[in-house]
């Protein structure tokens, strides 16, 4: 069996996000991210309509402090994939199965004990707003109708398996209109909108 590792990365204005490192925009301090963690699950590689590989784990917790790659098992190593599909978050079935080790361990701080269910994404830090600092905290999740925040992402692949999956936080915040809402901590309509935007903020990069 053949395997491929796909690195996952989070960037802001083309800089890789690192802990305790302010990121500037056009020479001015803009943001510092203190925590960025998210689940990706149900990852598959396609050649046109044919599924040619799937991730070896069903769920990965990606932490920007030490992002782990997603490992794919290739059922058809001779075929070059041209599409990647994955979900952001934990699906509703997995959200109701009780205690698990590994990515779903509640110790990871990604479980809402007050309402049961995983937080699909945590993004926390401070914005630098005209010399003032303002904290932000986004905990996006929800697995029950009507607030199911799980999202599926599909991205085209152009040059085979040597790609990096990239979350562009600058794009996410631009689409989100971060000046409006700086706290989001529960399943609700805004969380659904955030989830939609999050799904549009991934891209494939080759460097």
């Amino acid at each position: 069996m053949l395997y491929a590792q796909v690195p996952v990365r989070a960037t802001c204005f083309k800089q890789i996000i690192k802990p305790q490192t302010p990121i500037s925009k056009e020479g001015e301090a803009f943001i510092q991210i203190d925590l960025l963690r998210f689940y990706i699950s149900h990852c598959y590689l396609y050649r046109d309509a044919q599924k040619i590989g799937g991730s070896t784990d069903s769920i990965y917790l990606i932490d920007f402090e030490q992002p782990k790659p997603v490992q794919f098992e290739l059922d058809h190593p001779n075929l070059v994939p041209n599409r990647l599909q994955f979900c952001i978050g934990v699906d509703s079935i997995s959200s109701c199965l009780g205690a698990y080790e590994g990515a779903l361990d509640p110790l990871n701080g990604m479980y809402w004990s007050w309402q049961s269910g995983y937080i699909n994404l945590k993004l926390e830090g401070t914005y630098a707003l005209n010399q003032q600092k303002e904290a932000f905290q986004y905990h996006i999740g929800g697995y029950q109708y009507p607030y199911n925040a799980l999202r599926t992402v599909e991205l085209d692949l152009e040059a085979g398996l040597d790609f990096i999956l990239c979350l562009k936080v600058d794009l996410l915040l631009e689409l989100w209109d971060w000046k409006q809402t700086k706290q989001l901590m529960r399943p609700c309509l805004s969380a659904l909108r955030f989830a939609d935007i999050l799904a549009q903020s991934f891209e494939i990069s080759y460097d």
């Binding site: 109701c96 199965l97 009780g98 509640p106 110790l107 479980y111 309402q115 049961s116 609700c188």
Partner: protein, 340 residues
Amino acid sequence: MTKLILYSLLLALGGLSWQNFSGNISPPKHFPEWVYPFDKNPLTKAKITLGRVLFYDPILSRDSSISCASCHAPFNAFAHSDHALSHGIEDSIGRRNAAALFNLAWQRQFMWDAAINHLDMQALAPIQHQDEMGESLTKVLEKLTRSKRYQQLFEQAWENQAISIPKMLKALSAFQLSLISAGSKYDKVKLGEAEFNPQEKKGYQLFKLYCNRCHQEPLFSNYQLANNGLAIDSNLMDYGHFEISKNSKDKMLFKVPSLRNLKYTIPYMHDGRFNSLREVLRHYQQAHPYISPSTDSILKKGIPLDDIQTTDLIAFLNSLNDLAFILDPKHRFPKILLQK
């Protein structure tokens, strides 16, 4: 022939569901199938023991002052008597009456508002809650890993695998799943070992007429959400399931509690507002025409019970008290916690 094979296969599978997975615990004959997924967490004696020690050990709280048993005491059928609202760390007062704990293997949702979807995940709420045990999971794991006692107990329960939060949760479940209350007079009657007296018999008829649709026998709850017509407490402003779903249809929906062991679980209702069964029945006798659209129709008009019927119904409810459960030494404080 094929039918026979299929039948034996079904029997074998049916048997598997509890015999192989639930250790020495089996569902009482007159109970329905339980719903806890024992295949994902097979019960063993070692796991139940570990869970029992964890349940009684204040090590799970920030300042080692509060254990699960501080709010869930065996002599109260694992509820908290005398306190309408639960008391937690540093004397903080919670928002709800501590629920009684028994027959949990038959429940799919937990807490008064059904906020929690799996027994294994329930303990995360009190452990991390600022007003209950106020501790972080990282600290809990550190404390357990450092302790000789827990190294040993986890080793026995999980054959040398590392201590972890999911294992702790599953052990707490194991102990709580072993809390089965099925030894009341009612149970003996159902098993043909006793008979109701005439008063209890009349009460049973009234019960079946007015209460059974929600407090369904033999568990005495359907464990679904319902609105039994309680007015909202203007201090607590607790809207039940609405707090979780934020759907206005869910206002004042609370999980139907079991009516077993009521003698030991005073006070009653999610906020402990009633101190006697007579008060509860007075509530059910009143009409509740306008309180909320989700109020059950049978309760809107009020249940017609005269004084004699009230007494009969209470006599029946008393036949649901299970002293053998309350006194069961297997459920009590484990002596191992007295050793250093």
